[in-house]
Structures are given as structure tokens and as C-alpha cells.
């Protein structure tokens, strides 16, 4: 589903090199965890996948279901099935959450040549997913993410993910700022979306999240490169010994 080949990237503004040759292949149905210390390039990788233009790809390519992802606009990537759950979901005053959800769902449907959802069908889907994720209708009436607690923002991200039904889910430190209960709710929401047709990239600092969302593959990212790949036991080892060995290796 996703093939990243020799990806080099830098910050557009000051040309600081962040990614220095990433190779990563993710098949449908797989869940890959990417771990690594601060500043290793985890969030940069997620932003590049989503198409943020603060970064410049200097070498390499990204194929998403065989298509050159770097040629696609952020909204085209989303319509093609890419979803980034933001580490810091953005507050958008004046945009009602429901209106936003409807606009996003229908924009993607339109891009794929599908009919817009009817209002009752849209409401039904939102209510169903919102109740799984413990998102209140009151929250949905407010402007997008405005006045949401940290946990509410993360639940709202997973709600969006559930409604948009992406093929590739990239979760950028979705566990940050969550208490134990919120972590459980969010993880259950994510696990419900696991399917043979869907791939996931879970970016995290801590092994804790991976107790809930069990990965098939774990990668360690350090200084812009993947320095170690293993199974879920690698996460446990990192939790015990820290990143020091790999940071030095890179």
C-alpha cells in the first residue's frame, strides 16, 4: 500500500535536513509502529505523508497504492485514502464541527466520483461513531476543536478517521496528553478500524500505546533514518533499555 524509497527531506525555510534516506514498505492489513527519540523525524515523516509544504523532499519517492504521492495535493491524498491524526489537532473558530465533518466527507466522496451523503445518512454515521468514542453531541455542536480538552481533541481526530474510512491511517503521537481511560477509548476506536484492507502507521514515544494497539512491525527512527526493525518485542526492549544504543548507532 505504501512504499517509501530512500526518502530525504528538509525544512523548506532553513534547509535543515531532517530525513536522511528512509525505506519503508507497508502492506494492507499491517500495523507499523514508528518509535524514536525527540527530533528523530517522526512527525516530519507524518507531515510529508499528508503533504504539508513546510518540508521539501530532496530525494526519493513515496508510492501510495502505486501512485506517486508527492505529486498529489493534500486534499487529493486524503481523497485517495490517506489520513493523518494530528499530534496537535488545530482549533478552528467559527467552523462548526458537524459542518466540517459533512464538508470533509462529501468533498472526499466528490473527488472519488461518489454522491454526497444525505443528511439523515450523515447524521446516522456521526451518531454511531460518536457514541463508540464517547464524543458528546454537545462537543459536535461547538466550533472544531475549540475549547476541547486534550483528550477530546484526540477522540475527535479518531472520530474523523472513523467517518472518513481511510486506507492508510497515520497516527502521530495520538497517545500524548491522554489519561489511561482516554487512551483506552482512543485505542479501541483505532482497533475497530483495523482491517485487511487498511494499513496503519502508529508514531509514538512510548511502548504504552502499543499494549493497546499491537503492531505487526516496529521501526526505530533515529536522526532521520530507520536504524532497526523488529516485531512488537522490539518496543518492549526499547522501553527497558531506552534509545541510546540506536541513537549512537545512527
Amino acid at each position: 500500500m505504501l512504499e517509501i524509497k530512500n526518502l530525504h527531506a528538509r525544512i523548506a525555510e532553513d534547509e535543515t535536513e531532517i530525513l536522511r534516506g528512509i525505506d519503508l514498505t507497508i502492506k494492507a492489513g499491517e500495523v507499523h509502529a514508528i518509535m524514536g527519540p525527540n527530533g528523530s523525524g517522526k512527525s516530519t515523516l507524518s507531515y510529508i505523508l499528508a503533504g504539508k509544504d513546510d518540508y521539501e523532499v530532496t530525494e526519493g519517492e513515496i508510492l501510495f497504492n502505486g501512485e506517486n504521492m508527492l505529486d498529489m495535493e493534500p486534499d487529493e491524498r486524503a481523497a485517495a485514502g490517506m489520513f493523518l491524526a494530528f499530534q496537535y489537532p488545530i482549533e478552528i473558530p467559527g467552523v462548526a464541527t458537524m459542518e466540517f465533518l459533512k464538508t470533509a466527507m462529501n468533498a472526499q466522496r466528490k473527488a472519488r466520483g461518489e454522491d454526497a451523503l444525505s443528511i439523515p445518512e450523515f447524521m446516522k454515521r456521526v451518531k454511531e461513531q460518536a457514541s463508540y468514542l464517547n464524543v458528546s453531541m454537545d462537543m459536535l455542536k461547538r466550533p472544531l476543536n475549540v475549547g476541547f480538552s486534550g483528550g477530546e481533541k484526540k477522540r475527535a481526530e479518531i472520530l474523523q478517521m472513523s467517518l472518513l474510512e481511510p486506507k492508510l491511517c497515520v497516527l502521530d503521537e495520538t497517545d500524548s496528553g491522554l489519561d489511561i481511560d482516554a487512551l483506552r477509548i482512543v485505542s479501541e476506536g483505532v482497533n475497530k478500524l483495523r482491517s485487511p484492507e487498511r494499513a496503519m502507521v502508529v508514531i509514538t514515544h512510548y511502548q504504552r500505546l502499543l499494549d493497546h494497539i499491537v503492531p505487526d512491525v516496529v521501526h526505530v527512527l533515529s536522526k532521520g533514518r530507520i536504524v532497526k526493525t523488529g516485531d512488537k518485542d522490539l518496543a518492549l526492549e526499547l522501553e527497558k533499555n531506552g534509545y541510546a544504543d540506536y541513537v549512537n548507532a545512527a
Binding site: A50, G51, K52, D53, E73, P74, D75, R77, A78, A79, L84, F86, P89, I90, I92, P93, G94, V95, F100, T103, A104, M105, A107, Q108, A111, P143, Q160, L164
Partner: protein, 440 residues
Amino acid sequence: MNVTAPIAHTQGETDLIARFDAVRDTLAGSVSVGGLRSAALEQIKLKGLPHRRVEEYKYSDLRAFLKFAAPLAAAADRSATEAALGAADTFGDLDRYKLVIANGSFVAELSDVAALEAEGVSVSDFAAALGGDMGAALLANPKTAPKDGVLALNTAFVQGGIVLTVKDGAEVSKPVEVIQVAASEGAQVTRCRVLVGEGANLRLLETFVGETGSGEVNAVFDYQIGDKATLAATRLIVGASAAPRLFTTIATLGDEALFKSLGFVAGPEFVRNQQFVSFAGENSDAKIYGVSMARGKGLADQTLIVDHSVPHCNSREYFKTVLDDQARGVYQGRINVALHAQKTDGEMMTQALLLSEEAEMANKPELEIFADDVICAHGATSGQIDEDLLFYLRARGIPEAEARTLLVLAFLSEAIEEYDEEYVTEGLVSRVRDWLAKKS
């Protein structure tokens, strides 16, 4: 001898002076009104039209803009008036009363006079009132703007308008639209006097429809809001027009009164919406909103002075401006707090969103405070669309143009929502959408 050297008149000023000579004997009003008209014209003759060296017009140079002045619109033809009204789409199918002013004169036959009478609202012709004993008093300037140039132009040329009196305690069940119609081209100069009686409640809609050619529109609304009374006035200044659109509000509030207004500007090339609000009674509130959009070389100027001369009153001002191309926006807001106006609570905010590199916003919030126990605050921002917000929306599949529209709409909607007159919310929001959709 006191001789002031006359200024060199622009073509616009020369036209106005000739216009006055041509119509002075036909304009409505008593002898003393005639005197006020002549004095006002004399002010224009001596000082010229307001220009950039006049502090209040620094960013809105009417003298430079008004290259020439068209004659006043002739008396309106009935069928042309009805045709223009029929084509008008101001507030859609909102259930409301209508009062019609065509080519500057009140048209009772096309207005819901009897229905309003039954609700405790009496309506009469401003031009007729100018001929009465109180005629001259109807043209009084606010004390915060005794020599305003736009008001002088209005006094000199005012053709007519409406005197609307709401009986004490009357709760008018539907909004009242004062719709001004251009049945033919030419300048239209009007004034409306609105008296809201004690404990009464009125919702006004102020609109203008039709083409005036190169004729300016100069409309004054003078509100006297009685004790415990409420007035909400929504003003639409929309539609493409190359001639100036000059609107003035004068509002005086009694005790425990509430005045709310929203000036919605989108389309004309030169708009000045100025408001002079003063508190005559204590424990009153003024909530003043502005929503402006301009593109091309358009100018949208929202200017106001809120005068706190008595204690215990609150004022809120919240203005939003969106500018594209080489458009210019102006916000000049002043809150005066007199020495005795203790416990005043005044707060103003003006925010502008610039959609192009060449758009320009002049934000000038001012506080002039002489009392020592007050809460006053002001804020001003100008910026571009936040790229992070835009990226978030695009990352969810919303194409760039649609995402930008959504963000601009959200920005302006905040003021419309806070104005909180729900019968106009949808209509105003859809006007913002239309304006955004016109960008090609």
C-alpha cells in the same frame, strides 16, 4: 473683517454647489431649515468635501473620490419604483414590514403604514416634518461630530425620509425594513428619525436597492432610544456601485436601554458607514458590530464614536473586515469616557483578514478616558489566512479553494453570530458565501 480664502474647488465640489443653486428652492423645510441647508453648503464651499487632511477622513478621501457629482434623483416614477422593488432581494422571504423610500422620498402607498399603526408604530414623511416647527431640530448633528462633512452634505440636500415613532411599551412583532429604492439614476439624500418609546422593542433592517449611476447615496438614521427600550438595526450596504455610499447613524440611549447594530458592507467602491452613539441615561448597553468585505479597488470604512458621558454604561464593538486585491479597509473606533462616567465598561475589537499582498487595512482604535474607575479595552489584528488551519482542512480532503472559503466564512461569521439577531443570520451568511463565490 473675517475673510477666509476660498479653496480651489474640485469638479465634484463645483457640481455640488451648482446642484444646490438649482434645487434650493424646491427642497423641503421651513425657513430655519433652509438656513441650516445654506450653512451646511457654505461649510462645503469653504472647507471642501472631507479629505485626507481631515483627521476623521484620513483614510477615506471623499474629495478625491468624488470626481463629479450627479444631480439629485428626480421624483420617482411609480411603476419604475415597483419594478425595482420587485427585483430587490434584500432579506429573502423573511416575514417583515416594509417602508419604502424611492428616489429620496417616502412612498406611503407602498409601505405597511396601517399594519404598523396597529402595532403601535406611527410613520410619517420626514420631508413634511421638516416644514413644521420642529423641522430644524430634526437636522441636529451629534455633539461628537458637529462639523462632519458627510452630515453637512446630508443637511444641505436631504430630500426626505421617514419619521417613525414606536409607542411606549410596543413590542413590534416583525422586523421593519426601511428599503430605499433607486427608481432612476441620481443622488439620493435621506434622513430617518426613529423614536423608540419607553420599554418598546424594534428591529430595523436598512437596505438600499437599485442603480444611482454616478449619484451618491447619503442616508442618515437618527435613533432616540427611550428608557428600557431596545433597538436592533441591521444595515446592508451591498451591490456594485461606483458612486459613494455614505451612511450615518446617530443613536442616543436613555436609561437601561439596549442598542444593537450591525453594518454589513460588501460591494460598493466607496463606503463610509459612520456611527455616533451617545449615552444619555445610565445602565444602558450598546453593542455595535461590523462585517465588511471589499475587493478590486474598493474601500470599506467603518467609523464610530461611542460617547460615555454618564456612568454605568457598557459598550461593545466587534468589527471584522476581509480584503482582497487592492481593496482598502478602515476601522476608526473611539470610545470617549467623560470625567463623571464612572463604572463604564467599554471594549472594542477589530480584526482584518487580508487575502492578497496588496490589500490594506487601517485599524485605529482609540480610547479617551477621563474617569478613573472604568474598564476599557481595545484590540486590533490584521493577518492572512492561517496556513496551519488551511492545511488541516486540506488534509481532511477539502480542496484549497473550498477550505479558504470555509475559513473566511468562519472569520466573518463570528461577528454575525455574536450580533445574535437570528432572523438575519442565515441571510447575512449566505451573502458572505455569494461574495466569496464571485471571486473568479
